[in-house]
Amino acid sequence: MKGPLSDCMEPSITSAFIPTSLDNPVTEIQDFDRVVQFYWPRLLRFILASVRDRDIAQTLTQDCFLKAYRGRKGFRGDSTLNTWLMRIAINTVRKHLRNRRMQFWRQVQHSAVPPAVIGAWLPDRRISPERSALVQEQVHAVWTATELLSERQRTVFLLRFMEDMNIREIVAATSLSESAVNVHLFRAVRAVRKRLGRNNE
């Protein structure tokens, strides 16, 4: 259920691996080491983009796999392994953010990722300095724009545009209704567009 954007945006490098990986998720989860190797980057980047702290993202990703390992017997294969793990990640992030809100005195994030650093993680080091600067600026703009979204809007936005998940998968991962996902996505896109438009002016 991909929109026109998927046609014009670059194809996701991960989407090519998903079909071979998710042929039989129930048997796949038995090889937990392989599951971790395959899904670690995906959960890590989602969590990092959600909590914006590198050390916390590493810890929470580890927690997610611990939870998944302990709860692997409960995984019946009703959803894909990707969706199931993403649901664990979403709940872990939500719990962390709720706890952080309670710790109102804790203001300093020790390893918070500054937006400028994100831009330095460029996909292709051989690009020209001009192009590099442009990409850094673009990445910085999206990173900042997503920071301003509400937790739910950011979650659905990241799942859709960073993880390339379709609406049905997002519904399964977030436990929201389809209409709620559509509303959050619409608001998120509108807010990010507004922010990006402001940056371009």
Binding site: P4, D33, W40, R45, I118
Partner: protein, 160 residues
């Protein structure tokens, strides 16, 4: 009035929820196409950069992972935490109530004992009075029983 896509229509286009007419317009109109690219290009760069970065971040190795998975759960899970909180709350409420109960129990017995003691005292006093009001010593009472009382003598017509 502009024939271009509105801001909301552009957002709907990005989400793939446009009508076929809007879809065609978004593909053909250079201005709307440029407007859409303002979103698509940075988001695409963001996704590529994040994927590139996360692919370089190594997942724990097998031995690290095994040690990690064998590690006992350090913290209580949320349900047990709630049970613990409930137990503490019960103790906090229960202990003062229990102590108040004991205090009441301690203060009540003297009232009951007072009544009991008063009755016992009254009985004892009766016994003491009865003992003191005897006209003859107690060992002589069986002998006195053989002697008719003055009333009995009068009823029988007296003695000479």
């Amino acid at each position: 009035m502009s024939n271009h896509l509105s801001q909301d229509q552009l957002s709907m286009w990005i989400l793939g929820r446009s009508t076929s007419e809007e879809l065609r317009h978004g593909r053909e109109c250079p201005e709307c196409r440029a407007e859409l690219a303002r979103f698509e290009t940075p988001v695409s760069s963001f996704r590529s950069v994040m994927q590139e970065w996360s692919d370089q971040e190594n997942a724990p190795r097998t031995e690290e992972l095994s040690a990690l998975l064998r590690r006992p759960q350090a913290t209580l899970n949320s349900s047990w935490r709630w049970v613990a909180v409930g137990a503490v709350a019960l103790l906090l409420i229960g202990i003062p109530t229990y102590r108040r109960g004991i205090d009441t129990a301690v203060s009540l017995p003297p009232v009951i004992n007072d009544t009991t003691d008063a009755k016992a005292d009254a009985l004892l006093m009766d016994a003491v009075n009865a003992h003191l009001s005897r006209t003859i010593p107690a060992p002589m009472e069986p002998i006195m029983a053989l002697i008719p009382a003055p009333e009995d003598i009068t009823r029988q017509g007296g003695t000479k």
